[in-house]
């Protein structure tokens, strides 16, 4: 299945605005973000801590709906999903 991953702000500068990637069924959001970022040391380190867990401030969305980072490891993805990864918002 094919999933679109989008990064914003500082994460976008490090990892690019978006990528499409194929994944096998049963992949969860945490695995997906890890696999897309692991070849980019600086990008990976911006999002994950030394233990490989999402940094506390990272925000994840699946098709525009917030997914708590603590749930990302057990939240499955489906074909055509859009996963967004970004730092805390700062509009206004």
């Amino acid at each position: 299945m094919t999933v679109r991953i989008r990064f914003f702000a500082r994460f976008r500068e490090l990892l690019g605005a978006e990528s499409m990637a194929g994944f096998k069924d049963g992949t969860n959001i945490a695995d997906l973000v890890r696999s897309v970022t692991e070849k980019n040391r600086e990008g990976y380190n911006a999002i994950f801590d030394e233990s490989g867990n999402f940094r506390e401030f990272v925000i994840l969305m699946q098709n525009g709906k917030r997914v708590d980072v603590s749930d990302a490891g057990r939240t499955g993805i489906s074909d055509g999903d859009e996963i967004a990864v970004f730092p805390p918002v700062a509009g206004g």
Partner: protein
């Protein structure tokens, strides 16, 4: 009018059009690029999520504070010092509701709407940390 756009916003026109029947008070919030030793700022949005989020905030504010009209226009792209970043125009029967509604909208935007600001300085840039962020907003 709820919008995320590169173009500037015509606040005078919004204020004129906000005069719905029953209006006794209009409160306008105009966020401006402040000269914090920067050259300009660059704003980025996750527009597909940010726009419906602004619409939701406008609806909530309308219900909660009996507003008669709400405009929210958030700009993106590169903006110079002194330019408008965000205009919020609300109308209500009375001033209490107009102030409270306006304030509710800006506070909600600050924490809920996926928009980011980068300050461009002489020696590079700095992402503005979110107000409710745990991150440090360090220079990158």
């Amino acid at each position: 009018m709820i919008a995320i756009q590169k173009e500037d916003v015509n606040i005078a026109q919004l204020v004129t059009e906000a005069r719905k029947p029953g209006t006794g008070a209009i409160v306008v919030f105009d966020g401006i690029v402040r000269d914090d030793d920067i050259r300009e700022i660059e704003l980025e949005a996750y527009t597909e999520v940010a726009l419906p989020e602004l619409e939701k905030i406008a609806k909530e504010a309308t219900a909660k504070f009996s507003l008669l009209h709400v405009d929210i226009v958030h700009r993106i792209g590169r903006l110079a010092i002194g330019e408008n970043i965000l205009a919020i125009v609300v109308s209500a029967g009375h001033r209490q509701e107009a102030y409270a509604g306006s304030r509710f909208i800006i506070e909600e935007i600050k924490v809920k709407v996926p928009i980011w600001k980068k300050e461009l300085t002489r020696d590079g840039g700095r992402w503005v940390p979110g107000e409710h962020s745990h991150g440090s907003g360090k220079t990158v």
